[in-house]
């Protein structure tokens, strides 16, 4: 898959997600307020996971942290 196709897919995904067809009022977010609903509910676990995979797999990135660099591992 070349870069142009990747960009097009990204735009479509972004637009679909940002379409905001449904607005959930803040007082109806009982389920969404559950701390476990957060994508990275534990920062230490997220660090452990990011460090582990970025030092063992050539594909690093996409988790909000700098991909590569920062250690003597790669």
């Amino acid at each position: 898959m070349n870069l142009l196709k990747l960009l097009k897919v990204s735009i479509l995904l972004l637009v679909t997600v940002a379409s905001g067809c449904l607005v959930v009022p803040q007082n109806r977010r009982a389920k969404l307020a559950d701390p476990l609903m957060a994508f990275d509910e534990d920062a230490q676990e997220a660090h452990k996971k990011s460090k582990f995979y970025s030092t063992r797999e050539g594909a690093a990135g996409g988790d909000g942290a700098p991909a590569g660099g920062g250690c003597g591992c790669q």
């Binding site: 735009i11 479509l12 940002a18 905001g20 007082n27 109806r28 977010r29 009982a30």
Partner: protein, 172 residues
């Protein structure tokens, strides 16, 4: 095919984004006469429960962390207001009464509680957030609308309390 992708993306955007910016209707000036329940399950309506007292209403939910920071201040305010002839009441929105009753007992909340299980009261007031703070005068008119319990809400509550005591003094 190339243009089709762009048209599709544009359609998605045009069709859906305006829905998220639909303006909300302005909230009513007065108090809606909607049925609420107390923690024992007895039905009541706020205008009757107020009994002519200036009232501070705090809309909250058990899952709301910002609301939990207001438990202490609301408890203190409730005691002070009672001495002045005012009333502080918290209205939980959108949760089962039994769950709210258990939460209130576990956390030792001692100010008055009502429950709006189906959001009817919150929706009638046009309130879409928790915490939300309303100040009502003795006649039930909404004198202040806000989010957190803050200085503006306390100033408004003091004002309606002193209006009530001035009115009471004048009529005696």
């Amino acid at each position: 095919m190339r243009h089709g992708f762009s048209v599709l993306a544009g359609l998605f955007f045009v069709a859906c984004v305006p829905a998220s910016s639909t303006p909300v209707a302005p909230p009513p000036a007065g108090l809606p006469n909607v049925e609420l329940v107390n923690l024992d399950g007895a039905a009541t309506r706020l205008p009757e429960a107020m009994a002519g007292r200036p009232t501070l209403v705090s809309l909250w939910a058990t899952w709301c962390e910002a609301c939990q920071k207001e438990f202490g201040p609301l408890g203190k305010l409730s005691d002070r207001a009672r001495a002045e002839g005012g009333w502080v009441v918290a209205v939980d929105v959108g949760e089962p009464r039994a769950e709210v009753a258990r939460f209130v007992k576990d956390h030792g909340l001692r100010y008055d509680q009502l429950v709006d299980e189906q959001f009817h009261f919150a929706d009638a007031l046009g309130q879409r957030r928790v915490p939300a703070t309303l100040v009502l005068d003795g006649a039930g008119a909404v004198r202040h609308r806000g989010g957190d319990l803050d200085a503006a809400a306390l100033d408004a509550f003091r004002t309606v309390l002193s209006m009530q005591s001035t009115h009471a003094g004048a009529t005696q």
